[in-house]
């Protein structure tokens, strides 16, 4: 049986995007590819919903968009983490860790 594709929890998409952008600026398609690749296709980002999320993060000032040239020589919109975005990422990672530990404990005990 193929591993089931997980629907993303509300808010986790933001965390994944921020984490993906930690290393380098990327355009939207690359972000969706990377998330899928690293999670070994377990996390299926509904590609369309990526964009409202990106725009929301931009409005929050955590990422910054700029037009650049893609690897294939086409104009593309690149997103990059801002200082505020880095702080937010650290904060959310911490949160996530606490949440998963807590859920793990509950599952173990139950």
């Amino acid at each position: 049986m193929k591993p089931s594709r997980l629907d993303l929890l509300q808010g986790t998409l933001d965390l994944l995007i921020l984490r993906t952008l930690q290393a380098e600026p990327m355009h939207g398609w690359a972000i969706s590819e990377r998330i899928q690749q690293i999670s070994r296709d377990v996390l299926q980002v509904n590609q369309g919903s990526l964009y409202p999320a990106l725009h929301r993060l931009e409005h929050q000032g955590w990422i910054q968009a700029e037009w650049g040239i893609s690897e294939l020589g086409r104009r593309a919109r690149f997103y990059q983490l801002t200082a505020a975005g880095r702080r937010q990422l650290a904060f959310e990672k911490e949160n996530w860790a606490q949440l998963t530990t807590a859920i793990g404990r509950v599952l173990d005990l139950a």
């Binding site: 509904n46 590609q47 919903s49």
Partner: protein
Amino acid sequence: MGWIDWKLRLRALVFRERVENELDEELRFHLDMQARKHRQEGEDSPGAGRQARLRFGAVERMKEECRDVRGVRWAEMLGQDVRYALRGFRHTPVFALTVIATIALGLGLNTALFTAFDAYVLRPLAVNDPYSLYQFTWNTRAGQEHQFTAREFEEFRNDNPAFSAVVGLDGLFTRAGGHMLLGNLATGNYFSFLGVNAALGRTLLPADSAIPESSPVMVLSYTAWKEKFGADPAIVGRKVVIRGHPLEVVGVARPGFTGLSEIPLDFWAPITMAPLLKVSGSFLPPQPAGRIVIVGRLKPDMSLRRAEAALAAWSQRHTAGLPEAEQSTGVVLRSEATTVPLEPEVLAAFAPVLLAFVLVLVIACANVANMMLARAMSRQREIGVRLALGATRVRLIVQLLTESVLLALPAAAVGFGISELAIELCPRLMLATIPAGYSEFIRFVPLHPDLRVFLFMLAAALASALLFGLVPALQATRSNVMQASRGEFLTDVRPGRLRNILVVAQVALSALLLICTAIGLRANNQVRRLDLGFETRGVVEIELQDTLRPRVLRAIRSLPLVASVAAASKVPLMGTLPTVPVGAAHRPERMPGRFMYVSPEFFPVLGIPVLRGRNFSSAEAAAALPLAVVSESAARLLWPGRDPVGQSFQIDRVPQAPGAARYGAAPPAYTSALVIGVARDVVSGYIGDAVDRSCFYFPQPVDMAGGTLLARVEGNAEAARRKLDAALSESVPGAVDQIHSMDEIHAAQVYPYRALAWVSSAIGSLALLLTLSGLYGVLSFLVTQRTKEIGIRVALGASAGRAAGIVLRQSLKLAGLGTGLGAVAALGASRLLASQLESPMFDSVDFVAFAMGVLVVLAASACAAYVPSRRAARIEPLTTLRHD
């Protein structure tokens, strides 16, 4: 959400197209990359594109979500709503124009009023730091505001605890060159204190008021220079004779400056000239009273409260040694920042007028609300369909309110035009209608609109949009989807009731306004018909300076057109008489007796008959003997049923407030007087005071100090007045302060009542007109709504009269209820009015006025019902029933 968010929102709003294109490009890039990946995995070209779109999800929905993130959807929707509303107005231009005109009228009136309020009460004077200027005085135990003598002013200036600088001011009211001149005698630092400079020549300087009577100079206001001195470029150096003293014009103040008070001034002269220019018309006891008003600039570090405390201490210390009546009971600090200080009393005086105007606007709004409601009802189907298609109620309400605002804004623009017109026309109307000799009294501060007026207009427009738009919008969007889809719209909504409430409110308000109008009209009528008890025709009144009195009297007597001259301490119609406690010998109790000093010629000149006994003789007057002529009513009060002639009465001594002497208000020196005659009752105070309850005339010679002259002339009094004025300014220049014919004085007294009657009539009729159109609208709607029902009734045998009766009954029900409510409100309003005006011309419960107001409203309502009821009577049952 930080500033980045707002920056991006703003960008999305301003560069809407570009942001949209970028979104398109970004998504296209994604889809192309995804398709490319699928092609690399072996799909054919169309299949790859399909795959990519499948993985992506609904592209348009994602775009919508991205747009939501931008947070400028409201702006886009607003654009839609505006376009939609404008399209709607193009289809129903008559509706749109009617609404705009109705609201514009209401807004225009209110803006005109606010512009005046702004100019007098809100706009700071154009002087240095106006908000630190305060007039200072204190209340005395006698209940009067203290006025400073020159010595007191010096004392205060030398050791005042709160102000960084002070000026002393004294008013001067005179005539020169055939014009009335209003001036201030001021300390020389006045202009530098206020930061006002000269347009020509120089202003007053501190040196001008350094040595008493040493500097006979004056500064003209710019307006006076232009209007009364022909904008003479060589005015500086010219001499103007003021009260017999030539003053050299040393300069003209800069344009726009007309002093600190609400009446624009013509000139300023050094206060040290006061002893020459203001020989007090003090009567009998020569007691120089204070006349100086102090205006100071608060020290920068001084709070108002600390200043008040310091000044209170100063005034108490200063008045400690004075008679009790003159001791300070508390300081008065009155802001001089605006022409009229923003005080509760000012607002209270303004409130009734404001209320009447606001009520007109409210009636206009109710009218339009009714029209909007009718329109919304006729759009029920559209609204129902939109609700069924998923539009939210809030969205629809916002859309309907957008329509209201779009109607209110042009109404505001038109209203602004109306207010400008009103501001332009009203003073002209006043000048055209006021008695000629008083036109110079009409002085306004400039009434130009400023930012405050603009903001008021905008706020009033938006408020009225809410007022007339919100209720219909709420009401119209109440229909539920199920009913709408079945085509039933009016079952559970009760628009009829709401419209009825609106109409009842309108009728009530216009009944209130009309009853007030009727009260005003009746007061006017009463004033016009009032028998003054003396003859105003052919009498000219002259107020003059004591120093020049003998010369003026000689000059007047030498004129052939003057038949005889009398003098009186106060002329009838020129203010309320002073009183003194008097009592008859046989009764211990005292009554307040109004009194005046007159020369023997007084009675014949004014045509007041001496009914019993006799007039004073010239010898008695010259000796100022303790005799009296009393009025009929005074005689009745003191000696009921007895012959007053030959009786004597007691005059009590009472402590006089300082300054009382100035107006001939000091009681006689003797303590009892013998009655030698009884004169007919007259109106001696203001015309609003009606006929006196008592009057005691004491004899004085015609050249008595402080007296006003009354000349009986041959022929036309107005022509004689002009001749007299010309002759006197020729022979004794600057002696005459005022010269009027008694007819003119009478007309000027009646004028406020006439003006009140006009203004209230205008407001009342406007209100009535608006209400009628409202009532007409509701009844027409009623007929349309109940056509089917009336048709069935007629088919079942009801007569046309009964059909019309349905409408008439409804109309009378609404009008009756409204008028009743209005009458109750008017009862309260008229009580309030009567208590404020304290005039016998206004009854607190004037039944005739109430009946008039109520009848007019009911009759008008019946008229408004006539056309709709005729329509109801003509309903054809067959056509009606076939319909639907």
